[in-house]
Amino acid sequence: MSTAPADEIWITGIGLISSLGEGLDAHWQVMAEGADRAAPIDTTRFAPFPVYPMAPLELDKQIPRRADQRQMETWQRLGTYAAGLALDDSGLKGDLDRLSRMDMIVAAGGGERDLEVDGQILAGLAQGANETFLNERLINDLRPTLFLAQLSNLLAGNIAIVHKVTGSSRTFMGEESAGISAVEIAARRIRAGQGEVFLVGGAYNAERKDMLLSLALGHMLWQGGDVPVWARAASGNGGVVTGSVGAFLVIESRAHAEARGKRPHARLASVLSGRSRRKPGEARAVAERQLAELAPLLGSEPLAVVSGASGLAAPTLEERAFHEGLIADGRVAAVRAPQSWIGNSLETTFPAQVGLAALAVSRQGFYLPKGDAAIERPFDGAPRQVLTTSWGFWRGEGMALVEAVD
């Protein structure tokens, strides 16, 4: 997918919440200017795993009705909140006519379980309860509304109810790949005239033991302190630190934005999804092909890179070697890894990175190095083009190019 001037895609709204804070200013101030983060990493509540918790939010600001808040679990509240920020930022909040034609692609996993109920049932089962005990307890103890708060597509449903986004609505699943495909397909649809304006993104609540249990089964998680991804990857098998993040983007055709007098943060020049089976070298080969596809779009300045390196040793070291090769060739100037700041947010990871890439372009600066200076090299000045990469902790390799609009 490549850009012709006539069918440019603009990023006109970004809604971002994480442990760093709420909104674009908060993220810029922490990641580019060295301000304090809103919420420190939590190394005790979910020990042995550290987690980047969500910054405190006033939910009423984006989800005015308490009844709506009560109908959601945390991940849906985070997503609905971030979607509201993106709509505010794009100037489309409350524009019911345009919202009724706005298409939505949400990248989502599933909702939280009721851990207390699960614990009581497991204790009962362990004490030799008969096999109908499970039925009886589930019927009596599960809240009817919990199911709706768990369903993957109910984040989209809640965004429709709260913010009135009522074009088409799809929910993609599948960890980081879901977020990559969501942004890619939205961009492809705009370019092909299958929609003019999209709300794309997701939300992940990391502060939940049910998901940590699933990830622990795969030995994916880092145990220890607040360590940048490069250092984690250099220690044994490394590991992922998950973080609570909500990230939504408003992307639209240039014509649609100009018709309503809206200037963009940045242009979304290209988005590419990919997949390998992750034998050594395969993910890098995907990335090499993606970069070759982007080559006609690249300017002469070395790129700033927002990397989705997770801290898991194998993919992180392979991706690092890819970037170091590009640095040696003078094609990349510097690499930053947001997961060293906000953690991995699974489906939300890629939309958040595209948002951070667009933010850097629009603020005409780049983020502070964090950790290993050999890869997180200094970057002065204003990046014209930011490349963002996402290699999922399990599968999926994505790449996007975001560039300045004059």
């Binding site: 042995p48 109908q71 996993g109 599933g110 851990l115 699960d118 614990g119 497991l122 204790a123 089962l125 362990a126 096999e131 109908t132 039925n135 009886e136 589930l138 019927i139 599960l142 809240r143 919990l146 199911f147 709706l148 369903l151 597509n153 109910l154 989209a156 449903g157 809640n158 429709a160 109810i161 986004v165 009522t166 074009g167 088409s168 609505s169 799809r170 929910t171 993609f172 699943m173 599948g174 790949s177 990559i180 492809r188 370019r191 299958q194 033991k209 940590l212 249990l213 699933s214 622990a216 089964l217 795969g218 999804s273 990919g274 997949r275 089976r277 489906e347 399990w394 999926g396 994505g398």
Partner: protein, 426 residues
């Protein structure tokens, strides 16, 4: 991308292969024979104990794989069978090398009770809560399958590996509209020229105890347990809820000219697609039906089809009081006086509600309806609902030429997706 274009100048999307598994059987032939004989696949649940449950019936697919497996494993197996049949019929690519993209509707996943129970039982730690103990145990194990099948992308990833589809597979969920959404994504990709072919699948093997109880707690399920085959009664006055069921439907979609060029038999044409998100409530539709009405109208517009061209409607028809009333109201609003002359039937009267798979399975049956000129009935229609004055093809299949089918799929969360499927030639 070929030269044949639709009324909006877009590439035409052909259907060249289909496969299906349901509680009625494996494969199109067995399913079609049962479906047109008015046979139900609904039966008593034997997979797990049903004590204390208000609903003890379902359309589980138990006849293929005797051993108990976790839900995503069954979902993958059902998808694999349906896709095998579809790809073989299309005669496209070679085994393990499908020359196109994969769009797949899959049920949400999580660790299930047997896995949790085993982890908890094996935990040596007594510190912290149940999850702390299970986590300690999980870190001592190395069960790759348990881990991977708890990932949301796993089922589609394995299907992509098996069939050798191109690019990154898309796993999606739009609740009970998921199967239709998968088809829509495939149609859009071919219309864009992103791919000449797409394998689109909807699969659901997720009937387990907690899943059933969740729907029971929402009062969504039929409790007509006495005669399981008579429980699903779409559009009847005495309908009282849907019957959960399993299955998979798969279709091979292709650029029309690419399919013709390789000599493929074209089974049908994906003429129009559309969807419209409702913003009224998490489980209920806007009372005036406006989002459903908009979805149907946009689908007709997308196809460039007039009201009088539609000669069969494959209803969502879940057998819940709410859905069937809303669907009937919306169809009457869109089609006006034409509605009296359009037969409408619900496959769910026989196969139950296959949830994530429903839109794909019912699209397969819609194409089959066109090819055979035989409309499957709505069975269990003994007490008509006077507020639903539709021709629901009661109880007995009907021979009739069918050239354009509207297939409806609606889901919790305000999802409304429609397909218009036409006969070849395009």
């Amino acid at each position: 991308m070929g030269v044949t274009r639709d009324h909006l100048g877009r590439p035409v999307v052909a259907i060249t292969g289909m496969g299906v598994v349901s509680s009625l059987g494996q494969g199109i032939d067995d399913n079609w024979a049962a479906l047109t004989a008015g046979r139900s696949g609904i039966h008593r649940i034997t997979r797990f104990p049903t004590e204390h449950l208000r609903t003890t019936i379902a359309g589980t697919v138990d006849f293929i794989f005797p051993e108990e497996v976790r839900s995503p494993v069954l979902s993958e197996r059902l998808a694999h069978l349906a896709a095998d049949e579809a790809v073989a019929q299309a005669g496209i690519g070679s085994p393990g090398d499908f020359p196109g993209m994969l769009f797949m509707a899959v049920p949400p996943v999580e660790l299930e009770w047997p896995a949790r129970r085993d982890l908890f039982a094996a935990a040596s730690s007594a510190e912290g809560d149940a999850y702390d103990r299970m986590i300690v145990r999980a870190l001592q194990e190395n069960d790759v399958d348990a881990y991977e099948f708890a990932l949301y992308g796993c089922v589609a990833d394995r299907i992509a590996d098996s069939f050798g589809t191109r690019g990154s597979p898309v796993s999606l969920s739009t609740a009970c509209a998921s199967g239709a959404s998968a088809i829509q994504l495939g149609v859009e990709a071919i219309r864009r020229g992103d791919t000449d072919a797409a394998l689109v699948i909807g699969t659901d093997g997720s009937i387990h105890i907690e899943g059933l109880i969740r729907f029971q707690l929402l009062s969504a399920l039929s409790t007509n347990n006495e005669d399981p085959t008579a429980a699903s009664r779409p559009f009847s006055k005495n309908r009282d809820g849907f019957v959960m069921a399993e299955g998979a439907g798969a279709l091979v979609l292709e650029d029309y000219d690419a399919a013709r060029a390789r000599g493929a038999k074209i089974l049908g044409i994906m003429r129009g697609i559309a969807e419209k998100q409702d913003d009224f409530h998490r489980t209920r539709s806007t009372p005036d039906g406006s989002p459903v009405i908009a979805a149907i109208r946009q689908t007709l517009d997308d196809a460039g089809a007039g009201l009088d061209e539609v000669n069969y409607i494959n209803a969502h028809g879940t057998s819940t009081p709410e859905n069937d009333k809303m669907e009937a109201l919306s169809l009457a609003a869109v089609f006006g006086e034409h509605i009296a002359g359009i037969p409408i039937s619900s496959n769910k009267s026989m196969i139950g509600h296959t949830l994530t798979a429903a839109g794909a399975i019912e699209a397969v049956f819609s194409v089959k309806t066109i090819l055979e000129g035989l409309i499957p009935p709505t069975i269990n229609h003994d007490v008509p609902d006077p507020s639903i004055p539709l021709d629901v093809v009661p109880n007995v299949a009907r021979a009739a030429p069918v050239s354009l089918v509207l297939s409806n799929s609606f889901g919790f969360g305000g999802q409304n997706a429609c397909l218009l499927i036409g006969a070849e030639p395009a």
